[in-house]
Subunit: 445 residues, 2 copies
């Protein structure tokens, strides 16, 4: 057990709440601050993408025995349901029994705050942190940025306050702080497929539904109440873009033409389209993540990524797993805990940022491509026969605890091999032959 400290966690999101549970478990006093009202008491925002919990997320939850509570609100998805214009394909994510889990962000966040309160963390909502004095671990809180502030001193401050973190904002003004934020030209909008009258799901509930259309796509993830949370990803400008859909008719025509099988299941299409905001997607990187033994960033606050690998929350939760390992290893030497934590996590955060960025192409274009699906089938077959020689990239990211940086490097090598394999004459006919198998074994040498 570490020496008990008074710790502030800024941000009551998923990472902030789970971190609070870990810190309580380690014997600290934990105050969690959020500038927003208590999410348990308000309607959600209409700008959410459902979460896809996978191995890394579950490990962090199970580490403080709250995994089973979360499993109660999760729906397993063992495959992609790929809605082409004229047919529906299915593509399994992993091996038999391997699934990712759809969870509504709002539902999970409420649950996590409940669990953190049960663990003894105290929450302070509608408290705006405008600044932090790094060397003194002191929060500056007030109604407005230019108004009066009160100062609250802690032994340590965690910034779990997301992509637009105020804690990081202060660190950013230090010399030698590397920082980048890059917005995609693609935005997103939440839509909804309600449950049937009998409460059942209108589409297969154990699938991640995807309508890949090149530079835009629609996805749908199941909720417990029989509904699906849908997300339309599309460029802001150009031919098929948010800018081009300016009225009810243009929206309805666009869906009719491009997502014909969605029309019957999204009854409030135009209404939701114009009610819900169009949100931006940003990749944010920075370094360092910590200041002495006083302040540490965690989750989106130090590595915000685009959502196309479903790893944003999982990566944030894995930060906590690694931080906790360092706490166990280095005890009260928080300077070392923090420096080893950031050293371990930074290359992995960069790798999952890169993988997530690339995965937009995979989801929105490649899943509609027969050749790509064949490649995945060959990989799967080979991996099942030689599990110690080939773990597909998606599985390594999603169904393993191997570092993301390793997944990126090995994935690139596998891709080189597969691009050679796919050039074999008549690969469509011989894909499951021993010749193909031997070629891969050769190339692996």
């Amino acid at each position: 057990m570490q020496k008990s400290l008074k710790i502030a966690v800024v941000g009551s999101g998923l990472v902030g709440s789970l971190l609070a549970i870990y810190l309580k478990k380690a014997g600290h006093t934990v105050h969690v601050y959020d500038r927003s009202p208590d999410i348990r008491k308000i309607q959600f925002s209409g700008r959410s993408i459902n979460l896809a919990m996978s191995h890394r997320g579950w490990k962090a939850l199970d580490g403080v025995d709250v995994g089973d509570k979360v499993r109660e609100i999760a729906i397993p998805m063992d495959k992609r349901a790929i809605h082409l214009k004229d047919k529906l394909n299915f593509q399994h994510y992993g091996k038999e029994g391997e699934s990712i889990y759809s969870i509504s962000r709002g539902t999970l966040n409420r649950k996590m705050i409940d669990l953190a309160e049960e663990a003894g963390a105290e929450f302070f909502f509608e408290q705006r942190i405008w600044d932090v004095s790094l060397a003194e671990a002191t929060l500056h809180i007030g109604e407005t940025e230019r108004g009066e502030w009160k100062d609250v001193k802690y032994d340590m401050v965690f910034g779990a306050d997301g992509a637009f973190s105020r804690i990081r904002h202060r660190m950013q003004r230090q010399s030698m702080f590397n920082y980048s934020q890059e917005f995609l030209n693609t935005g997103y909008k939440e839509l909804n497929i309600p449950a049937n009258a009998d409460g059942l799901h209108k589409l297969d509930k154990n699938s991640f539904h995807i309508w890949p259309r090149g530079n835009y796509m629609l996805i749908a993830l199941p909720n417990l109440d029989g509904s699906f949370t849908c997300t339309l990803f599309m460029p802001f400008e150009g031919e098929n873009s948010f800018a081009a859909l300016t009225d009810r008719k243009s929206v309805e025509d666009f869906f009719e033409k491009n997502f014909p099988d969605s029309i019957d299941v999204i009854p409030k299409l135009a209404e939701d389209f114009f009610k819900n905001p169009t949100s931006t997607l940003v990749t944010m990187k920075c370094f360092p993540w910590t200041f002495e033994d006083k302040v540490a960033l965690i989750g989106d606050a130090c590595h915000a990524i685009v959502p196309f690998y479903g790893q944003g929350m999982n990566a944030g939760f894995e930060d906590i797993t690694v931080l906790y390992e360092m706490m166990q290893q280095f005890g009260d030497d928080w300077t070392t805990v923090f420096s080893e934590y950031q050293k371990s996590r930074k290359p992995n955060a960069d790798a999952i940022a890169e993988l997530s960025y690339r995965n937009f192409m995979e989801m929105s274009s490649n899943t509609a491509d027969e050749k790509f699906l064949l490649q995945k089938k060959i990989e799967k077959r080979f991996s099942e026969k030689f599990p110690d020689k080939w773990l597909p990239l998606y599985s390594r990211v999603t169904f393993s605890h191997n570092p993301y940086s390793e997944a990126l490097a090995i994935g690139d090598k596998q891709n080189e091999i597969m691009s050679k394999v796919m050039q074999l004459p008549e690969i469509e006919k011989i894909w499951d032959s021993e010749a193909v198998e031997n070629r891969i074994l050769d190339l692996l040498k």
Copy 2:
């Protein structure tokens, strides 16, 4: 002539002052703000690297007829003087008559402010701009960030306030604003070679002096008073680093061992070493650079680069040349002026950032490498014989007005060609043969 506007320029540095002259010439009222005292009334900071004015800089100065005033304080350097441990090599920069010009930053800045005042711009020093309201082009000025502010409204605001621009800081908080800052692990420190008692330079005054030593280097640029401003570039940490030089003796031993011919000419070595700060080097990129027809960033405020190509000021001055072209083309349509300005400049700013970053290697390592110098000799010979077929990269950047992005692209192609040429057997012997010439002509096809 455009409709006369009331324009604020934030930053009285080189770019801010020259921009003020251009805006006055175009008929506007111009107020220049700076948080620092009037540089004409204070000692300079001991953290400066001498400037190397080249074609792009002169063009911008000559565009408002102040080039000749600046030539009076500039010293031509037509070559590198490369101080190896056992000998001195010279390498000419360009063709006969082509030079870069050494100018002390302080001297130039004082001159530019004088010239801008003569042109009718008004300067307001020790005025701290903390924030700007973008849509209203209103500056918020006050003693402290949290204290009382007064608001001053303009028709338009230019942020010429450098790498840590407050104007950009506000734009950065807009959605869809891309931004990155990346610090080098190499820092720099100013040192000084004073004039001889007779006022003459201790080293050749028409050379850019460089002591290349791998991951660190010393440079010296001449001043009018017979002195040289020296800059030591070195990693912050590691074997040969600022961290390793902690007392007089370690500094003196280090220079004795690594820069033996500098010992006699830098009399106050240890004193200056510990008096002058160790400064950081940052590359900063962002986009967009403008907000509607109200606010525009210019110079380091939107593209801070490392100093290894000597193009920081030149690139900032070229921003002004391009902005002025757009003003002439689009008149009072400032929205178009601004959008065309940033569209034209952004790829070139990115290119010179990349070239400058790469040039540290060229200066600190390659100039000590015989093979590299031979390559440059071959390029020079070929370029003199076929001037329409080959303009060396350095010349394209320094002695031309071709876009930086073109220089980067063509430079990469030339490098590919030269790496093949350098692999020819016995290239050291046949370098000036027709065979080599023909090989280059072949590869250019």
